[in-house]
């Protein structure tokens, strides 16, 4: 199920980058990011609403490529 409160968007360029994917998986404490078998990014929809708005993912990727959206605003 997609998030009811939070959505995370990642630019295709970043999602295809195995290095950045690894970084995103590492920084997120609530497991919203996972790596697919080919090393590209998977967003775990079930975990989206666990997002603690820490911005660590935003800081981990090039500016503007990862966006955390509050769907209640």
């Amino acid at each position: 199920m997609p998030g009811m409160f939070i959505d995370v968007e990642v630019d295709a360029k970043v999602a295809a980058d195995a290095e950045l994917t690894k970084k995103l998986v590492e920084v997120c404490t609530v497991s919203i990011f996972a790596a697919k078998d080919d090393g590209t990014l998977d967003i775990v929809e079930d975990n989206l609403d666990e997002c603690v708005l820490c911005d660590l993912c935003i800081q981990a990727a090039p500016k503007g490529t990862v966006r955390v959206k509050k769907l209640y605003e």
Binding site: F5, V30, D49, E50, V52, K70, Y72, E73
Partner: protein, 401 residues
Amino acid sequence: MRFYEYESKALFAKHGLPLGTRQVVNSAAEARAAAEAIGGPTVIKGQVLSGGRMKAGAVKFADTPDEAAAEFEAVLPVIVNGESARSILIEEKSPIAHEYFVSVTWDGRRKLPVVLFSDMGGIDIEEVAETHPEHLSRTHFSTILPLSERVAKEAIGAVGVTGSDLNKLVPIVYKLIQLFLEYDLTLAEINPLAKLDDGRFIVLDGHLDMEAEARGDHKALLAELGIGDDETRQARPPTEFEIAGARVNAVDHRGVAGNVVEFDGNLGLIIGAGGGSLTLFDAVRKQGGKPANYCEIGGNPSMSKVKNLTKLILSKPGVDKIAVMMNVVSNTRVDIVARGVIKGCIEAGKDPAEVIAIFRIPGAWEDEGFKILAKHGVEYCDRSVSMYEAAGRACAKMGSN
């Protein structure tokens, strides 16, 4: 965590405390066979955790195996404080010359363990303390200095016991102290500790309580006694609703959303933290509210834990609305709890605006939380509304004050 008498006695036996011949039985035929093997008068005792079983009729005496079988049938259905017997213990009945009382417990004020000893056993010890204080001794002992038998000797001697009785009692009391410390017990009690006509001493009845926090350290013993992890051993066994609540809390390690206790009202409570829950439960009852449950959330639980707890409470028959309330939080996040309860309502097929009577959790991330609540039309308040007032608002919506 309380032990049944037969479990306590198994532990006593393991540590060499003197006991009568006894057997746990589960049918009248077994009772007859056990009485035959014992060969003489017997006591038939229902195994319950609560006190007062003698008065309730869960303890009977028999002279013959046939009588033992009949008394088994008489004791088995007896309910003591709402509790039915788990099994029946049948034990040899010996002629008693005198009864003593000994108990080891913690003194929270002195922060030390204490041995209570009395030569007026078999009766309510609080009564002895009030009417015959000189017959009850209190002997504290160190938890870091070496332990020796002199603690037992002083406890017994303090009520005037001397001679060979003193010397026979010392090893019994000392073993009880060792048992108390070894198994992290909060209470190790023998009452009565009987002196028989032939001069021997035996444990007639005993009561052991293990600290819940220490269960993990004594897994081998608990397995040996056949006590499962899901046996809470509170004053009453857990209900299915409570077991489901424990499962919700066990899903992940982030925070607490559990300690669910079932009540029979119509207002579901999602409350916290520890002290806050006690405060809020009182406030609801004081204002005429009828709680469907007690629970505690805190320590920054995950969204899904809160969500599942919400769903569980909403699934309880008779629950019309829920109230979500805590003291000012600094670790738990208001927005995460708000997300959890709203999502829980929706997944349970309910409208959050309708079913959440009030949301009163001020503190960390409250601005984000309040935005979420406003978006879903849920009534919420900040710290300017007291816990008591918030509870009152919820009660008013239930039409109960």
